[in-house]
Symmetry: C2
Subunit: 219 residues, 2 copies
């Protein structure tokens, strides 16, 4: 941080809005800030989770950044049968999400959960939250058609992206049987896992999220 004494800094805590503060004391280890004014109200944000099979270092950082820009509220890495990556540095994902939240002018940081087995996660799934499952096997409804059946009133969703090798047959069977899972198709081209995640987040925001709102610029 290259800030100097008397510089302005913008602060948010995820619930009270955004405030402009000035630096009143500064040394190498610490700074004191004096809050001068409220600059933005906290506003309601979409309640959208992303469940994704972890991918390689670098690509997973990128995914955390872009998903944050696209307004995800919770990121949950899930292990599936064909997931090739076995460990996730969630602390690094948190750092990526914080930086992306600041740059995108969000006033919240998405929650990052520790990885979980897909089957375990579904065992205790809150059924009111629908899961939009990106189904590469071709078994899903086209994305737009699926969105048209949803109502803007229900606003708890999750997007589920499989691993690079796809879901196993057993996983596909299980997912297709769950009443709260909506299998969707995303066209004829094979998308990489990170591309599919960003594409689905964008299309969800466009259809059911907050893309009807405009950016709120600072006063």
């Amino acid at each position: 941080m290259r800030a100097k004494l008397a510089d302005s800094i913008f602060l948010f805590n995820g619930k009270d809005g955004e405030f402009r503060a000035e630096i009143t004391e500064l040394d190498k280890k610490r700074a004191s800030l004096l809050i001068k004014e409220k600059t933005r109200e906290q506003n309601e944000e979409p309640d959208l989770w992303l469940l994704f099979a972890p991918i390689k270092h670098g690509k997973i950082d990128f995914l955390a950044q872009k998903a944050t820009e696209l307004g995800v509220s919770k990121l949950i890495p899930v292990f599936t049968k064909r997931t090739a990556v076995s460990r996730v540095n969630t602390q690094r994902l948190v750092s990526n999400a914080i930086e992306a939240a600041e740059q995108s002018e969000r006033l919240t940081v998405p929650e990052i959960k520790e990885p979980e087995q897909l089957s375990m996660l579904l065992n205790s799934w809150p059924e009111r939250r629908k899961i939009i499952m990106c189904d590469e096997s071709g078994g899903g409804t086209p994305f737009k058609e699926a969105m048209e059946k949803e109502q803007k009133g229900n606003n708890q969703y999750a997007i589920l992206i499989g691993p690079e090798g796809g879901f196993s047959e057993g996983e596909l069977d299980m997912l297709h049987k769950l009443s709260y899972v909506i299998p969707v198709g995303m066209g004829p081209r094979i998308l990489k896992a990170d591309t599919a995640a960003l594409a689905a987040l964008a299309c969800w925001q466009e259809n059911l999220g907050d893309w009807n709102k405009k950016p709120k610029f600072k006063i």
Copy 2:
């Protein structure tokens, strides 16, 4: 390429479909292939261009890859008033696009044009092709609403993404005056240029492109 004698290779030229060929001769410098069978028909692909202000090395490679996965047919780097990058290695973008086309099972490679000034490009613009302009200034129609006004019959579009610093006031004025420009909004969060491009490409494919089609797996 780690292929060996008698291995199968899949070939496409962007107009006749996909063919399986076997390697009949192989040395360090060259190989002979014998075409054995046609494996997929060429199918019609969306006619969607992406005009983007060039961004930094690394990020621009990534953009070319992801845009190819998302089915773009032509990439045109455009210089705007606030574009910070002044040179583009189009040959490297071509390599990125070829690799992404293969991996996404496309049977075409998007055309990559040499960079051009935005104003020059618009001077000779084919007016039948509408430009969906991602308008960070908040002056656009929400994306979904804008798409609902379009007809699936007109199928020539381009997406225009500004530089990291946004369009200048003069550019915004000029763009808003053009009858074939559709300014769209993409919600309250500030998206980076590459994120905005991918999000817009995905939403266009979902609404006006070919996301109603399914992947065609090899026979």
